[in-house]
Amino acid sequence: MSYNPKTPSRHHRSRSETKTPLTPSHNYGTSQSPTKSLYRKKSQADITNPFIDTRDGRTHSRAGSPSKKRSTSPIKKVTSAGSGGIPVSRSLRKQASVGLIRKGGVESRIDVITRDYVPPATSSQSQQQLSQPRSEGKRSKSQPARDTRDRFITTRDTTDDVTAALDMMTLNAESSSPGHTARIAAATGVPLGRRVLAYHEAPPASTSDSMLGQQRELVRPLYTRPGALPTSTSSTTNKTRRIATQPERVLDAPGIVDDFYLNLLSWSCLNTVAVALAENSYIWKADSGEVVHLGEAPEGSYISSLEFSNDGQFLGVGIGAGEVELWDIETQTKLRTMTGHSTQVACLSWNKHILSSGCGDGSIWHHDVRVARHKIGELTGHQGEVCGLKWREDGELLASGGNDNVVNIWDGRVGDVAPGTKGYRKVDETQPHGSRKSQCFLSVLSCLLSNLDFIERFISFPSYLK
């Protein structure tokens, strides 16, 4: 394994980063005798502490610290950051090595204990790091046999981590004092003299043939495919459905008429988008990215609606002056102009060869685009402008939404009837609180209503129509 066997835990330990000498309890995997490691620490403490054995450094530190000592975090008091820490005199060290401190005993004892119990939460990282060498060295000298279990707690944020660390610990009796090890063993429940071994090389990876991998992916059962099931493993819990917040493509539409009553965009089944920019209509072919200028509205007018036929070959164009045009996409020519409406045609909908147009005066006309006398039906049921129009997929019903806060459902069986024949208005649904904004809703609703399921579920038909 790649883990360092000296570290009891994979978790981040704030203190262990800069710690050069290991305290006895941490000497995993080393076989030094207790005295030897102590000696090593002593000498390392000497190296890292430039003020050791000097009277000046000691008084300096003492003078600087007392006021802070009891008022702020114990870590902060430890060193005056750059100075290298509280010095330990030689006599103090000698006493420490036998487990007792006489000179300044109370204070140094407080040092050790309070630092152990107070987590270094408020002190900055740099201060923590600077304080490390000194605190480690000092503790191991002054309190060689002290039960230092609390050290684990202070370096953990949560109790979970503590448990984890204890779980993962093994003890090596040779490298620390017997009493200490026994206490740790008793506290953690880790048996002594146990070794955890792993084979020196990692298990072989499965064959990584990309072709084979693809085949395997295909034959995987559904439940083992990624994201098929919510799992409780940590690494997969936050897999959520990604909803794009950025558009995949942005097309510039200069001069598009700012009027939400108009329907200036249509996307055909052939993956082309028609858009009307004021009096010009353009085709954008999504497959190739090609932009084609299809044509212009008559002089002095504008395009108020666009709608592709169901096969995507033809484009119905409603004009602000009331004409309805028919364009061939392939040849990019205007096939015919169907006149008759008095004001703008704001919405169009195709049903096979019948193009229905909703007009500003509230009337809906059916145009049979194949015949010269194109008007084959008129539906008058709206007081306000027709702003949403949608045939149901099978052509049975037509939904229309108007500016008068009414949604009408029309029987679609127009047949070959004389012009001027009125269709039946099947249902009307009045919005009680009409407002301009509700028109958008109506437009959407009329689209929804073209689905019969929706209609039957939410709207009650008059009994005579059933």
Partner: protein, 210 residues
Amino acid sequence: MAPTKQAPTRQAITLKGSTNLVTEFFKYAANTILFQRGVYPADDFHMVKKYGQTVLVTQDLSLENYLEKILKQVNKWFLTGSITQLVLAIIAKDSRVTLERWVFDINLVDPPSSDSSEPAPAKPESEIQAEIRNILKQIVSTVTFLPVIDEPTVFNILAYTSESADIPADEWVDTDPLAIEASKSQQVKLRSFSTDVHRIEAMVAYRYEG
């Protein structure tokens, strides 16, 4: 599960025989786990008849050799009685998080008391095999409650030995126990089986953060 026999005889199964039996069990148990938990692709495995049932065993030569090498050493430790636990850990390949730990505790059955009276009849091999079969079946059935792993994983085999164990220094190294944090793990005890010499207790711990 049948209770452990307290006074087995050494005539039927010797230490060596028991060791081979247990080692062989580990081979099939490890293969079953690796197959069931999808550590290696399913088509790496082929079916063999063993313990009166079909067991899936890897065909991947490198993996086969790897397991062979490990089990060979485990076998030696068995003979000296210095191994106490064998753990198969399943680790997420990318995050190195331990997802599952399959723990097999190895206990030496107390040697029979030295009274020379008629010892209890040896545990018939068919009974041992039935116990092994039950463990393997249980491993298979754990997929019903273990969390679905849908990321690439690797495995590692850990051997818990006594301090005095004879360890080939360049092949086996001290390592992290790959434990799962206690608060995030669930444990399920599986069946156990015993020969006249060894008793194996199986357990699976898996990461579960409710």
